[in-house]
Symmetry: C2
Subunit: 333 residues, 2 copies
């Protein structure tokens, strides 16, 4: 593996001259062509880590999501990967599994690799004091921290969030316009801020429409595929069941659709179902899924903006960005 010194030697210039040329500076240097040629001849590849050590920057951004095998977070990672790549940054990926201990491990990992910034999706976990301390230490070293997945306004970091309230409001308007009056809600864990916000939106919309809120038709809990069908069936096989069910993810909605068929219900005639996230499979379902699409690309672009802004020298006030989701109407409603 050749180093910049070898390139410089071969080109008979000082390492510094070679470095400048290879970094794209010294555009008018006499030696420019020669250096570039020598670099090519030696198959020179910059040792980024050595450069980082000197500059204190790594061009690495740590991205933490709760789960890596969840199609929604996957889409998010993909968008982050693209948006970062466009700015010459590389993502380092870690998972929190919704646990604070893994979250701490992830942040430590990022520190160890001297990332320039961190993006944390904290929608399925709590930021402990331990983690807070680490994040603050990072910020003191002028590393950016951007948080997504919470609407907590005083979180103390740049953060962006989806307006869950308005997203569910769109879903509800749609269902009400289709004359549904008996509505259920199935979501993930209680305590997950996104889930709570969506449930809030659900309740709010019912109240606004003058409809009663039936607690038996609201189910929060573990969204794992192993246990979900039970919860769904309890709702579907109750004496009186809702005519429409709002779900907090497409995966949950898929389970509901399947359970409905198994219970002999037609979707959407006997039961309307809505999802959330618009994963790729949502449109391939039978019936295809009415769902809510988050503007992931725009969010990723904005996250990268915030990250880079935070790396600048001047102190800037904390920013909060709100995003609106789109309702995608398909066959399940």
């Amino acid at each position: 593996m050749s180093t910049i010194n070898e390139v410089a030697a071969l080109a008979s210039v000082s390492p510094m001259t070679a470095a400048r040329i290879l970094a794209g500076k010294s555009l008018r240097s006499k030696s420019r062509e020669r250096v570039l040629q020598c670099a090519r001849k030696l198959d020179y590849v910059r040792n980024q880590q050595a450069a980082n050590l000197r500059t204190g920057r790594s061009r690495l951004i740590g991205v933490m999501v709760p789960f890596i095998d969840n199609p929604f977070y996957t889409k998010f990672l993909q968008e982050m990967h693209d948006a970062l790549g466009a700015q010459g940054y590389q993502s380092l990926i870690a998972c929190s599994f919704g646990e604070s201990s893994s979250m701490l491990a992830a942040v430590s990992l990022f520190e160890t690799y001297h990332v320039d910034g961190i993006v944390l999706d904290i929608s399925e976990g709590v930021v402990t004091r331990e983690v807070q301390k680490r994040l603050q230490a990072l910020q003191r070293r002028a590393r950016s921290v951007v948080v997504t997945g919470t609407q907590q306004h005083d979180i103390g970091y740049d953060h962006l969030y989806l307006d869950n309230h308005s997203a569910i409001a769109k879903v509800m308007r749609h269902l009400l316009s289709r004359s549904h009056r008996e509505l259920g809600f199935i979501g993930g864990f209680e305590g997950n801020p996104n889930i709570e916000n969506r449930l809030d939106g659900f309740r709010h919309a019912l109240r606004k429409a003058g409809l009663p809120i039936n607690p038996e038709w609201i189910s929060l809990g573990n969204p794992a595929l192993g246990v979900l069908p039970q919860r769904v069936n309890r709702l579907l096989r109750a004496r009186k069941r809702p005519t429409a069910i709002v779900c907090t993810s497409d995966m949950i909605a898929m389970v509901v659709v399947k359970a409905a068929y198994e219970a002999g219900l037609r979707v959407p005639q006997d039961l309307a179902v809505t999802g959330f996230d618009d994963i790729e499979q949502a449109s391939l379902l039978n019936p295809s899924l009415t769902t809510v699409r988050q503007p992931l690309r725009a969010m990723a672009t904005d996250i990268v903006d915030l990250l880079l802004r935070g790396l600048g020298t001047k102190r800037v006030p904390i920013q909060e960005k709100r995003f609106e989701a789109d309702l995608v109407i398909r066959e399940s409603t």
Copy 2:
């Protein structure tokens, strides 16, 4: 951000002593407790990049997949992430998008970050001479290269592959046992070695069963969701259509199931459909999908073994590992 020197100074030992203790060596040192305490007090986090620069190792493994938003590759990445983490390695992820140029970019990126090893899934791309050169340079520097997704025996790197032939044989035995005699095949791009191998297995099984091969019932091409339905419909709405269709991915199978319903066909009564990969959604489909499950966890574990073996000092012969897939029988057949 405190360094090891500061920790050493605070603990009144030499940096080297501190380094050894913090690396988990010098277990019986008198200063051990004191150093660890000082490190904690200073919130010391090792600068991995500096260590790497010195040792020439990064504990980073580059993992390249064709697409990051494909649920199958996502599962693979997840398994790699876990298997690497268990050995104290971190993955750096890049996408080839099935293009040779991106593949070169990915490998260069990995080189730049001085990864200790590379895992390339080349099932959707060709390894150009340019890339070969880079990989060989890596190997010369005692970096491991492991390739997946091809059965090409003389590829020149440690590699593992799924026995596509036997996987499709299992599917075919199953379909034939359900009395299907008119079988179709829908797959991704021609030229993709996995697809070709699966098609081979399909043809072979038909011949073995004494059944004719109807070229009109075989469709290879772009598997993108935008154009796939067209191809599927051509097959389903032909004068004479097959009674069962073998697909090379679950996503394709989902499209086929949907198109079947839209054409008024019941699955599995009028048309049986099989997928490939067993993505999470396969079991949630209506009807749930009969498919082929790759032993991804075992594959990831073996990949990591090969990687670490390759990092050892002694030269070892190239290894090839073959894996068997399992047939998962569900409602779609």
